[in-house]
């Protein structure tokens, strides 16, 4: 009696164990490729990070754990200078780019189409479409002319170049936020006696803030990571961390590069994680 009743149940269990249930979304092999892909995305980063803690001089031969290369990078005046320059440029560029991008987003979103709007879009998105190397050599040419004429070789070139290519990165999340915003909220504020400036300060700006924050952080990351444009625009002695590293790669590589890379990697991951979770939380 018991055996008869349990028969169908056993068949069900067997089905569950040996036959995969039909799933509408399953495509054979796709999960395997995806796993290989994820593995390949992160695998190369492992030795980079691991060897930054190597005791020895080699980036391929493990000689024990040590923080010596972090110490040596910290005390290296070239690295110090490059790091400070990187931070200064990224701070200025991200602040300027975010302010300008916010204004531009307010001037191009939620408005009736007007003449020249397409040109404005094209200009804002130009840094995303034109290959970096092209912009880099074009800037080299223009700034060489200006340097010759004014004999000014300072930081301003780098800051203005970085501001320019950071603008579209700051612009996109701000624009997306504005477009997703309910128009009637501002109308409601006006209905409740808020004058245009008050409406902007009390309603528009607070609602836009997550977008502005995300835009600023993206701009900061993009500026901090830039190699190509900086390499062509910088004057002598204006290395940033990435161009310093690019220079070092031509020589015998020591784990010091790994240490610097690991720190930069950490900063990027931290900022991107912040943006990612903030945008997810606010999105709901």
């Amino acid at each position: 009696m018991y055996a008869v009743r349990s028969g169908p149940v056993l068949v069900k269990i067997a089905n569950m164990m040996f036959k995969q249930k039909f799933s509408v979304t399953r495509m054979p092999g796709f999960s395997v490729v995806a796993m290989i892909c994820f593995f390949a995305l992160y695998m190369p980063l492992a030795p980079l990070v691991i060897y930054s803690f190597n005791e020895g001089n080699n980036i391929a031969l493990w000689e024990g754990f040590s923080l010596r290369w972090y110490g040596s990078a910290w005390e290296n005046e070239l690295v110090q200078g490059a790091a400070i320059r990187s931070l200064i440029i990224a701070s200025f560029a991200s602040v300027f780019a975010t302010i300008f991008a916010t204004m531009a987003a307010l001037g191009t979103t939620r408005t009736k189409p007007y003449r020249g709007q397409m040109t404005i879009y094209a200009m804002i998105n130009q840094p995303l479409m034109v290959p970096e190397i092209v912009t880099a050599v074009a800037l080299l040419i223009l700034f060489a002319l200006i340097k010759q004429a004014t004999n000014y070789h300072g930081f301003a070139y780098l800051i203005i170049a970085h501001t320019a290519f950071c603008i579209p990165f700051a612009y996109l999340p701000i624009k997306a936020r504005l477009e997703g915003m309910d128009n009637t909220l501002e109308i409601a504020a006006a209905d409740l006696y808020a004058r245009p400036f008050k409406t902007f300060r009390r309603i528009t700006l607070p609602l836009l803030l997550p977008g502005i924050f995300a835009g600023a952080m993206l701009a900061f990351v993009i500026s901090l990571d830039d190699v190509v444009i900086t390499e062509f625009v910088k004057s002598a002695g204006q290395d940033t961390l990435p161009t310093y590293m690019l220079g070092q790669l031509r020589r015998a590589i020591t784990p010091e590069i790994n240490a610097i890379s690991t720190v930069l990697l950490g900063v990027s991951v931290l900022l991107v994680t912040l943006i990612f979770f903030m945008s997810r939380k606010r999105g709901n």
Binding site: T25, P28, C37, L48, A60, A101, K112, V137, P242, R280
Partner: protein
Amino acid sequence: MDKDATQAEEKQNTNLEEVVRQQTVRRNILLTTPALVVLFIAASGPLLVMFLFSFLTPGDYGGVKWEASTQAWFQVFFHTDIFDDTVSIADAHLSILWRSVKLSGLTTILCFVLGFPTAYFIATRPAESRNFWLFLVTIPFWTNLLIRTFAVLEIIRNAGVINSFLLAIGVIDAPLDMLYTDTAILLGMTYVYIPLMILPIYASLERFDFRLVEAGYDLYASRLKVLKRIIVPLIKPGVIAGSILVFIPSLGAYVTPRILGGGKNLMLGNLIELQFGQGRNWPLGAALSLTLLAIVMIALIFYVRSAQRAGAGKDS
């Protein structure tokens, strides 16, 4: 009389509307001006100057002489022998151009082959874990390109992880020479740009209605048929966007071929740099840059066209 008054009022009010409209336009222009000024100084303006430079004569120690010349454009495609002045096709330039297009195309294909199943995998996860997988793709997307290229350099060098591993398990007797080859550049670019393929395809798949797949199976389609006839056609805009996002930066790649190609296997970006360094031929560099820009623009126009065509059949 009364009618005239009404008409006059209507006219006045239409003028009022016009005034409001003009005020809005003026406000919009004022708001966009700072961004446009910066972009003009450091993005579109320099391109115009570069265009001018491509018609000048190279200076002896870099820079230019202010003498008009079409020599630079000529040199992009043709080579004049320094001894007997015979003109021939500029083999060196064309082979570099060909390598750039070839490697960029291969990178795009490789990115699609790996990226499409990955995007599909992410899109079919339950909503809670989907963000986690997406996050894993986003992280490398925003991390330093130089560092990621450097990471690839470290694992494929002769004493790198891959060779050590293969030697240790006895598959090979001597280290494989992977570094400073076209393959190294291809691997590096695929590694660096694959998130740019995964993210737009994922975005298309996220909006994809999987009930259509159910309908396909219901109408006797096999898995392969469902993939070919239903899924791929509907997410085509994402695939096209991803391909263009990978192809364009690959074509203009500078850092990756410089590090992984080791100065032997040049791509367009490196050839351009050369003219501003050792080559000391700024006009040629400018002309080469504009050639690269032209190819990119053609690719972009192709993209816009096919995006429109792909979008024409659907609402979005």
